[in-house]
Symmetry: C2
């Protein structure tokens, strides 16, 4: 098994994503998580470019990393300075990072048009920058910017530039497809030429996804002999993003016949969680269809597939989802739904047959409501409540009854945020409770008032927390009301000490949609506790 | 130039996406748009599986398509029927589609485990199904399900199954990577064997994205001799999706040295619009990093990149975005921002120098507000307003002044949607207007009341429509308020007869965030009209 170095640049090239902006605390959190996953190198930023990046390098030294070595990124020295006087190289050395990765020009036109120096001078700059950093004790990786485009334009110059970095003492020559325009067949053949020209050099690969080829190009490079792969978590990065390590790592580990090893194999199941964690810290919407780690990656909808995976998962799954820490999901559809509902009822102690009318009835109701925008694939707790309501004769009850709620928003000329106040009147077992609360926004006020009204009856609601709140506007335009009358879907994730659940509400009115999801969430908590207690009593 | 057939299956395999559900009207709309783009085949559905799909085939016959031929999808005949009595093959013929695409088993274990027939019987079924459809006058494409996995398990059986379809008269043998687990290097070598075994057959390719290789595999197949590519718009489809035609078409057209032709070349710039249209009809969030067609695909953020693309775009762009109907965007950052602001001011007739303090001041303000969650890259109209406010001495004014607004939501025990009522008190040039309106939800009520208050002063607000309303919850949890107190960003797109603009609001209170975006939107309209009128008067 050949060891392939995994070099993560989420914190540097990844932050070039249009929608990412990380502060120092975010960067530290992500670095620690990447170390836990077991990557070999974490590129922390460009210390020469801004103070946030410099702060990262000093703070990360307070942590003990188990696997990863920190790399600092920068450019070759400025044409007007000697290497030893170059402020950028100085920042790299001052960062304290054991690895310095510097990029240089290997495309002739970039030397003359972007760097604006003669071609020969660029070669000198590459050699001298690498050699100087080496002489100061750093390990040096050389990122040959635009290498593939440069090779296609002027192969001799591109190879000479690489050779200069090699002579200077670069430990890895990283071939960059900076503009993302290269195809795997080209990667294979160009790396062949590089290896012929520099047989003793270690080759790395850094690709971008502009042709939707970043992962394929990285794999092709490894198959052609590269021993070092650069990429980012979830493929974030400038324009179309960088090569996605969440795909590259599983492909090298699981899909290449055991030829390669990357992170410690027992940590591979951490990758789904790491992907989600990074998306969360970076405040990015997870991409549900993302290979290996996405929520839909092993979700089966087609009737044939869904019934076949129930029998033999390998028929429609290329790997066991558990190997990457993900799970199989068989979605509620006419064909797959009945068995799911039977399973769901069983969790609550109801033994149904899949041909019982209640099963068919629930499926029909789910279908109708799905077409209204309820997302039951996401909100399983709301599905369970619908089922429980249908089975009411066997023991579910209404925990509270709404008499009235009122939400008021008031903003005046003094500016600032409006005041949000909600009043709620509910009945519990014939007793009326009427109370009010303020909040940070209308939904928060309503949530506060409802809990306040119920807490005297159900003190265990104190254990429950709202963990996540998602809003999606479902239709862009509405024929009779204009844009602002679109239908809104609210998903609320709640949790207590031992579980988490998601509920859904849909309405053109965001307050109503939130109310539906809030009511489901509280009802679910109360029913769940009651059921668990009953089960315990029976034992 | 070799012609590569483009076979779109958005309407069939694409709808296996977890988050897609299309009605018949949606399907017709998408089919007409695909025809306009110039694909060769549109797979409309599986007429044997459900009535929505049958309705599509009958309705699409009312339309004249310029390029595309319609294909109907189904399986080989049921083992218990003769082909001529098989209801599924009957549905295919009855659909009236000129092309029938049937899938059959080429992986031995699928014959015995999923189809549950002896291996020999499966071969007969393939041959007889194809031959029968041919005898009835249909063109037949054979989808060899799980071909690559089948080939790896039992190459002889997989090739024999293909051979049976060829003998039966299939026009194209489509090799399917159904589980998405195959790598490009395997595609290349396996297609080599297929071509050696069946040198006269036309080879097609159908790939899935489970290893993030769907596009790379399709391209590898074409390079190995395939003449027909199946995929979907935006790569939608079950699990991780199908091969993305929005990438495959540009790669074949622009990145393969002119070796291939797909859609009529002059229509290639339609692909960005087609991608957006399909996402919109299917109610999917567009993926901003999507290659070629995504909003970020040619967006430059890095200071170095942004200043270099201003000089010579090819330095950091692998193609001209206009070739695919997309555009370059240089994002507002410290380095790139000044020139952008100068350009923006010029559009409104202000001639600034990029070193003026107002430019620096605005950039600082944008930075601060961006860190609060304002998305100025999306909401250019809000940026323009900030700029105009800074330049107030040169002629911008406040069109109205808020004294107070109040929004009330009331829901009672009778259920149904709450009542939404808003009152607004504003001053315009010293005159106070106090009015109220109801609406479909709180934001709609507030919008209605504000317009009602202003319309007497500014009748041209009648021309303005709210076109889109987007909500994003920015932080999953809030330390002092729980999930429902998260920060909310609202983007509102508005338009009139000659333009469209986007404004933004941010607050933990969705009403306040919507108010900010509404006020910006109305102010922008009023200022724009006044400016245009002034310019006209000056001429």
């Amino acid at each position: 098994m050949k060891k392939i170095q995994i070099y993560d640049t989420t914190l540097r090239d990844g932050t070039q994503s249009e929608d990412i902006s990380l502060n120092n605390e975010d960067k530290i959190k992500i670095a620690l998580k990447l170390d836990e996953l077991g990557v070999d190198f974490i590129e922390g930023g460009w210390p020469g470019s801004n103070p946030v990046d410099r702060a990262f390098f000093s703070e990360i030294q307070n942590y003990h990393l188990n696997n990863a070595r920190i790399a600092a990124f920068g450019s070759t020295h400025h044409p007007n300075f000697l290497p030893e006087n170059d402020p950028n190289l100085r920042c790299l050395l001052d960062s304290g990072a054991p690895v310095c990765t510097i990029f240089g020009k290997s495309w002739d036109i970039h030397a003359t048009e972007a760097l604006r120096v003669p071609e020969e001078r660029n070669l000198e700059i590459i050699h001298d920058s690498v050699a100087y950093l080496r002489s100061q004790g750093a390990a040096v990786f050389f990122d040959a910017e635009h290498f593939f485009d440069g090779y296609k334009a002027n192969a001799e110059y591109a190879l000479t530039a690489l050779g200069k970095a090699f002579e200077g003492g670069a430990e890895v020559l990283v071939l960059c497809d900076t503009n993302g325009g290269t195809l795997p067949s080209e990667v294979t053949s160009i790396i062949g030429s590089v290896r012929a020209s520099l047989p003793d050099a270690n080759i790395g690969i850094h690709t971008h996804n502009d042709c939707e080829m970043a992962v394929a190009n990285a794999i092709a490079a490894v198959q052609a002999g590269a021993m070092h792969v650069q990429g980012t978590m979830n493929g974030v990065g400038e324009r179309c993003g960088n090569a996605n390590l969440c795909s590259i790592i599983p492909v090298l580990e699981l899909k290449c016949g055991g030829a390669y090893t990357t992170i410690p194999r027992e940590r591979l199941p951490l990758i789904t969680g790491t992907s989600a964690y990074v998306a969360d810290v970076a405040n990015l919407q997870p991409f549900s269809r993302q290979p290996f780690v996405g929520r839909s990656a092993f979700a089966h909808k087609g009737g044939i597939h869904a019934s076949a995976v129930n029998r033999l998962a390998m028929l429609y799954e290329h790997i066991d989802p558990k190997e990457v820490g993900n799970r199989q999901r068989v979605l509620l559809t006419e064909l797959a739904g009945r068995a799911n509902i039977v399973n769901m009822a069983r969790r609550f102690g109801f033994h149904l047959d899949k041909d019982e009318p209640v099963v068919k009835g629930l499926l029909n109701e789910l279908k109708t409501r799905s077409s209204m925008g309820y997302d039951y694939a996401a909100a399983e707790a709301s599905v369970e409540l619908l089922l429980l309501k249908k089975l009411a004769r066997r023991g579910v009850r209404e925990f509270f009854h709404l008499v009235q709620f009122r939400v008021l928003e008031l903003k005046d000329a003094h500016g600032g945020e409006p005041i949000s106040e909600a009043s709620v009147k509910v009945q519990v077992e014939g007793i009326t409770e009427h109370t009010a609360a303020t909040g940070r926004g209308p939904v928060n006020a309503l949530d506060n008032a409802l809990r306040k009204a119920l807490i005297g009856f159900y003190p265990r609601l104190n254990e429950m927390r709202l963990l996540d709140f998602k809003v999606r506007v479902m239709t862009a335009t509405n024929p009779d009301g204009g844009g602002t009358a679109s239908v809104v879907r609210v998903l609320i994730e709640s949790g207590d000490h031992n579980s988490r659940w998601v509920t859904v509400g849909v309405s053109y009115n965001i307050i109503e949609a939130s109310w539906q999801a809030l009511v489901d969430s509280i009802t679910y908590k109360l029913y769940k506790d009651e059921y668990e207690k009953r089960k315990k009593d029976e034992e």
